[in-house]
């Protein structure tokens, strides 16, 4: 049965008391087996919450307080991922470092098991392969790198993007991984040959002109549970592609954030108002070429909208839990909302 509704379960908060503003969220990840949620936020450490901990009320805010762990020396943690077996947490920082932290019951070790300078620029994306053997990273140096997950030795550095790489994700079967960058490109990489299998133009790359420019190019990428759909979110729009061909299948005005549910044909997207949609892929209307061969726009994201969550703030980082029953939505004000998907 596909889910039919979402209910807000609880709010998580993080604050170490330092006077420097809220710890705005950037990415969230659920532990695959433990009731633990991790978040990369505006800090050099990772925010960690026990989802079963009691909520407390401080200054009219009732929330589950979190802890800060997995410290980088400076900068901010820009990306993180938990290994499929739940034993490792990888963090990438603006300090250029990639760190591997052992997890014990979801609790990170005090010191990293591995700590390397991974990129000549901010480490912006990290993703474990489905078998846990490899880690892919993307950086502000435009490089994509593949690492052995056990010791963080470099398998290969890949070139293909011309802008800051912003996100990376594997296909569920491990046959390929996908990267998105500020150059407006989505690249699908063959996991065996480590060559670009498909280059998809998402667009939206810009020169960041003026006071409040839209995000340049691709900000987030994700792949559906069956590996057939690939979604990319940028500054103003969301596009869904056929992962096998790169053909545009659907589009939506949701911006910046996107993730698919692991258990059903459900997609969440958007940075201020989050749409959660039970999509109907057979009803997608792919983009067609006109007489001159120019590709038009695909149809809207067909399906049933389960919820439109107006956070009153930006959602910055979103992910479903491994069983699909929870949706975590990071917020700009240093909180994460956890929604129950039923």
């Amino acid at each position: 049965m596909p889910p039919t509704k979402l209910t807000k379960l609880k709010t998580l908060s993080i604050d170490d008391g330092a006077k420097r503003g809220p710890l705005t969220m950037a990415q969230v990840r659920f532990h695959p087996t433990e009731r633990v949620l991790f978040a990369a936020c505006a800090d050099r450490r990772v925010a960690v919450w026990n989802l079963d901990a009691k909520e407390t009320t401080v200054k009219n805010l009732t929330a589950v307080p979190g802890a800060l762990a997995c410290a980088h020396a400076a900068g901010w943690v820009r990306c993180l991922d938990v290994s499929p077996n739940g034993k490792w947490l990888a963090t990438g920082g603006s300090d250029r470092r990639l760190k591997l932290w052992a997890l014990d019951g979801g609790k990170p070790a005090d010191k990293p098991a591995r700590d390397i300078e991974a990129h000549a620029g901010w480490v912006e994306a990290v993703a474990f392969s489905p078998d846990g053997a490899l880690v892919v990273t993307g950086g502000a140096d435009t490089a994509v790198k593949v690492w052995n997950a056990t010791d963080l030795t470099l398998v290969k550095a890949l070139t293909g993007h011309t802008g800051f790489v912003r996100d990376a994700v594997w296909l569920p079967d491990g046959s390929a991984f996908v990267t998105g960058a500020e150059d407006g490109k989505v690249l699908v990489w063959n996991a065996k040959t480590l060559a670009v299998a498909r280059a998809i133009t998402f667009g939206g790359a810009n020169e960041q002109f003026g006071q409040n420019p839209a995000l340049s190019g691709v900000h987030r990428v994700h792949v559906s549970r069956d590996g057939k759909l690939l979604a990319a979110a940028g500054g103003k729009a969301l596009a869904v592609f056929d992962a096998a061909t790169g053909a545009p299948l659907a589009e939506d005005k949701s911006d910046a954030q996107v993730c698919f549910a692991p258990h059903a044909d459900v997609l969440a997207a958007g940075s201020n108002s989050v749409r959660v949609v039970a999509f109907d892929a057979p009803k997608f209307v792919p983009a067609k070429a006109d007489k001159s061969g120019k590709l038009g726009s695909p149809g809207p994201l067909a399906g049933k909208e389960l919820a439109q969550i107006k956070l009153g703030d930006f959602s910055l980082g979103m992910r479903f839990s491994a069983d699909g029953k929870l949706l975590g939505l990071g917020r700009a004000d240093g909180k994460v909302e956890v929604w129950e998907v039923a």
Binding site: A42, F209, Q211, F314
Partner: protein
């Protein structure tokens, strides 16, 4: 039978040129004081003009944390890392490798402090030296004052403005009570020269001269007994147009070797910095360069991601500018100033993707060339950048320094309707001796 002489008539383009180039209006165009140039007193000033200024204005309020005063690793430090400069112990933002390389050629003030946290008021203060309410008449841009005090020689424009900012005369103050004769000659940016000039070519120049002669003859009667600034400005405007028609290549970047242009980067700022260098090389004394319109450095939201782009293009363009001025022997007589209207808060805000608000309490800027002592860092802030630790520098101090570097006594008083108007706010301020 020869055709009758063509009657002298005005064309639409002429009106457009005189209106848009030379008459007042927000962000509109201007002239460089040609009309007065040949008056005896100004001729003497022009003969002594040897110094130049290139002001690269970072509208919106650049963050001191993400430029010249990083606090990497502190809670207020943000995600940006820093890089070692050529001055031992001094570090700049990681996206300023060229300015870090040139740190031993320039000076930084890390202890600027001011009081107006509104963009337009801040722009006005940081470019006139006066608060909007402190003078009886609209204060002139300080480069208009420079054009008044040190006009160009050889009929060149004294002051050129490259690129616009929204907000009109508050964002880019005009000549104020000095009159239109000291307005910067406006160019629209991206390396383009003045807009709406009459068509090029000898024929058009001859036609313009015929019309100018007629206008001058008719104007003689009008001007008799009317020695008003506006009449002078009107005369100056037409003189300026004629000069520009004769010197179109002044603004022609196609004359620059591609290898020179490449070093500035493929951006609008790069083109304008190259044009600024060209103008200075040709003898234009004062140039204001706008870095992007739309308050580009005003990063309340998503500051740290987008500023990587902004800072990188800024560093590339101004780094090339400084290298170029040094390579061409212009550095010692050209004051390069890199600044905005204020700084940004130590607190990182969650109004969306993180950013910083306006902050006047402690901020940074950089200057170099024209005798500025190289490798100097003036003042400091505390470890979280929340307050100045030593050597506060005020806006009057800053302008006293600018004027001192140009050989202008900041205690000089201009005159407006018989009243003395000091160059700095109420005549306050003292030059920052550390950079002199």
């Amino acid at each position: 039978m020869t055709a009758p002489a063509r009657p002298v008539e005005c064309r639409r383009a002429d009106h457009r040129a005189s209106r848009r180039l030379f008459l007042q209006g927000a962000g509109a165009a201007a002239l460089g004081g040609f009309g007065r140039l040949f008056a005896a007193d100004n001729a003497a000033k022009a003969a002594g003009q040897e110094k130049h200024v290139i002001l690269v204005f970072m509208s919106g309020g650049p963050s001191q944390f993400e430029t010249w005063d990083p606090k990497t690793g502190r809670p207020t430090g943000g995600p940006h890392m820093n890089t070692q400069t050529t001055v031992p112990g001094v570090r700049f933002d990681e996206y300023m490798p060229n300015l870090a390389r040139l740190a031993d050629k320039t000076a930084v003030i890390r202890s600027m402090t001011s009081s107006l946290g509104d963009h337009m008021e801040g722009h006005y203060l940081a470019q006139t030296g006066h608060k909007p309410t402190n003078v009886v008449a609209t204060a002139p841009h300080w480069l208009s004052v420079c054009a008044h005090q040190k006009p160009a020689a050889n009929g060149l424009p004294s002051y050129v403005v490259l690129g616009a900012e929204q907000g009109g005369n508050m964002a880019v103050p005009g000549p104020g009570f000095l009159g239109a004769g000291y307005q910067g000659l406006f160019c629209p940016g991206k390396g383009q020269g003045p807009e709406d000039l009459p068509a090029a070519g000898a024929k058009d120049l001859a036609e313009f001269q015929r019309r100018a002669a007629l206008r001058a003859k008719l104007g003689e009667g009008f001007a008799a007994g009317r020695d008003t600034p506006s009449a002078q400005s009107h005369d100056a405007a037409f003189g300026a147009v004629e000069h520009l028609l004769r010197n179109r290549d002044l603004f022609d970047l196609s004359k620059e070797p591609p290898k020179r242009a490449e070093k500035y980067g493929p951006t609008a700022l790069g083109r304008d910095c190259l044009l600024a260098a060209r103008l200075v090389e040709k003898g234009v004394p004062f140039v204001r360069v706008q870095h992007q319109g739309g308050l580009a450095w005003d990063k309340h939201r998503r500051a740290f991601d987008s500023q990587r782009h902004l800072t990188r293009e800024f560093d590339t363009a101004v780094g090339a500018l400084i290298d170029d001025l040094r390579a061409r022997g212009l550095w010692d007589k050209t004051l390069v100033i890199l600044m905005g209207e204020f700084g940004r808060t130590p607190e990182i805000l969650g109004q969306g993707p993180p950013g910083r608000n306006h902050w006047t309490k402690s901020w940074s800027l950089s200057l170099g060339g024209c005798g500025v002592k190289p490798g100097v860092v003036v003042g400091s802030t505390n470890e979280d950048g929340t307050a100045i630790e030593d050597r506060p520098v005020t806006i009057p101090d800053l302008f006293a320094t600018f004027y001192a570097l140009l050989g202008i006594d900041h205690r000089t008083e201009l005159e407006f309707e018989g009243r003395p108007v000091p160059l700095t706010e109420n005549g306050k301020g003292a030059p920052v001796k550390e950079v002199l």
